[in-house]
């Protein structure tokens, strides 16, 4: 499919198209607003491209089916929102430990609990990092437009396959339901990464053999003759359970180093007018759109405001934020939650500059005017 024409698309739709372009051929889900269009779209599109869709009995089962399908060799995804995301966490942890590539889309809505089903929120930021129990690596990405919903979904699959881990794609109700004119890239121009298959014959294959310094093990599919074991228990490189302290430490360190050694590859962000900025806005997702408008309003009045927009939410762009904190006078963090990312930014800023939040968790978006007022207030 070459697709150069401009199209009017919804964020959720662009996410699905990005997933299919990235090679997604399996989707398991359970309906929940505001993510449902992704499942509906997948049920229609996947059989047309030789893929598989299934509506499972709940989100626990959806996440399980996604992992099973990935082990059987298909690129797999699920999509949900708050209450469903909470249910995904059990098997998200399983995918982290067993290193099964997959993508989990969380189109955030107001919480906690059933919360505000049709209103936007950005309140699952910390859940995306620490939701599953136990120490585990995390990658979470967050687009801010319909066209990015497409491209960042492709990136999510690439990172999942490259580092053999679940990748969370965060969106919010605004991005998921917004319609924009987009020009999708030519599929031939996309860089698509696939997991590394086994390079050795079955008798030499060890499913979790990799450089202890952040290496990623090779992954043949079930049915390809390798007959290996996968368990959610701590395991040694042969895949079988162990309680040995040293082997446990080696495994957990390797999982964390997959991220820590590759920050430059994983962390993506957008910088806007940071060079002379005295006030820096740090914002992500739909709130970054308001922040951009507020920045333009301030610049028109001669106020030196810049914008730093993380696209990779986790791992955290620590070095970059430290650098900003060393130069700017103030950092303002608008987010549709009660200050989740701000904690992380404050930690990195370590007192070098003041970090101020603009926070709403009432189902209303943060407007450019809200941010502009705050900018004027802190001058």
């Amino acid at each position: 499919m070459t697709n150069r024409q401009a199209k009017l698309m919804q964020g959720n739709e662009a996410c699905l198209e990005g997933a299919i372009a990235a090679g997604m051929r399996f989707f398991a889900g359970y309906p929940i607003t505001p993510s449902t269009e992704i499942a509906e779209g997948a049920s229609e599109r996947l059989p047309l491209v030789g893929g598989k869709f299934i509506q499972m009995e709940d989100e626990i089962g959806s996440m399980a089916a996604v992992i099973g399908a990935s082990l059987a060799g298909l690129k797999a995804m699920t999509a949900t929102s708050g209450p469903g995301m909470s249910l995904k966490l059990e098997n998200l942890g399983y995918a982290s430990l067993t290193e099964i590539p997959c993508v989990i889309v969380n189109v955030q809505r107001g919480g906690p609990s059933t919360g505000l089903p049709t209103s936007p929120a950005q309140a699952d930021i910390m859940q995306a990092r620490w939701g599953a129990h136990g120490d585990h690596p995390a990658i979470a990405l967050y687009p801010n437009s319909v066209s990015e919903a497409y491209s960042v979904t492709v990136t999510a699959f690439n990172l999942a396959e490259k580092y053999r881990m679940p990748v969370i794609l965060l969106m919010d109700e605004v991005i998921g339901h917004m319609r924009e004119r987009v020009v999708l890239p030519d599929e031939n121009e996309l860089q698509i990464i696939d997991r590394t298959k086994a390079s050795v014959p079955p008798e030499e294959y060890l499913p979790y053999k990799a450089d202890p310094d952040g290496g990623v093990p090779e992954m043949p599919a079930f049915g390809e003759g390798y007959r290996y074991h996968v368990t959610g228990l701590i395991h040694s490189e042969n895949g079988f359970p162990t309680t040995d302290a040293e082997k446990t430490a080696i495994l957990l360190n390797r999982l964390m180093k997959k991220i820590d050694n590759n920050l430059d590859d994983i962390i993506k962000y957008q910088e806007d007018s940071l060079d002379d900025a005295e006030i820096v806005l740090i914002a992500y997702g739909s709130t970054a759109r308001s922040a951009k408008s507020a920045m333009d309003m301030a610049r028109e009045q001669g106020i030196a405001v810049g914008l730093f927009r993380p696209i990779t939410i986790w791992p955290f762009a620590e070095d970059k934020v430290k650098e900003i904190a060393g130069k700017a006078k103030k950092i303002i963090v608008p987010e549709m939650n009660l200050g989740q990312y701000r904690y992380e930014i404050e930690r990195a800023a370590a007192g070098k500059c003041e970090v101020i939040g603009i926070n709403r968790a009432d189902g209303e978006i943060i407007t450019p005017e809200d941010i502009f007022e705050k900018i004027k207030g802190v001058l």
């Binding site: 089916a65 992992i67 098997n91 074991h229 996968v230």
Partner: protein
Amino acid sequence: MTSNLVKSYFRMDKLPHIWCPGCGHGIVTRAVIKAIDELELDKDKVCIVSGIGCSSRAPGYLDFNTLHTTHGRALAFATGIKHANPDLEVIVITGDGDCSAIGGNHLIHAARRNIGITAVAFNNNIYGMTGGQYSPTTPTGDKGTTAPYGNIDKGFDICKLAQAAGASYTARGTVYHAQLLTRLIKNGILNKGFSIIDAVSVCPTYYGRKNKKGDAVKMMEWLKDHAVNVAAAAKLPEEKLAGKFLIGELYHNPQPEYTEEYKKITESLRRG
């Protein structure tokens, strides 16, 4: 002395297993591999998926594609595997707690879809791995570490549950009737849709001890004395069946299988 069957299908270097002396789970595991052997299935195409529990440890010892998942979720993982690649022979090993308590929802929905998976429930009427708490198949009145005064819950009949939900094959065997159990598993695998075999096992360590059922041998004798084959039961008067339970093929009614139905949609779209 190790049998050829064990040598051919066990990962010998992973033995000894974790099971207690007298545990019935080894007998059920043997019945599973015997069924696979008799059907001459290609090892590379067999996936054994389990949840969490003593029973669910079995796949680790078996030389197939093996997946030890989370508690109760084996059937949902297995659904993903089977749907993604219907050429794989997917067998689920689960416990009574694993499949009928925490995994009860996945059980009824796998049955409802009639997806081509064969589930073998190692049913020892107790939560073995966590030390003997009552499960959804602990008989009313029996004891567990969380039912010190006797269990007031009513038990599930796993086969009836699965049949009502849409399974196309249900059967019950026991660890005393090992050859029958093998045959039932074999027929379950041959059935195209969702099959469940309720494999009545024994846990002398917890269920046996808590309920003064004697050692493993006594518990096996109890199975022998209380199991009645469905064929024989049909000819017996009601009163002779009191306190007994049925074994054998309980239900077999071939129905369209999920992944084949999905394939039909894909093919019609391709033609269309």
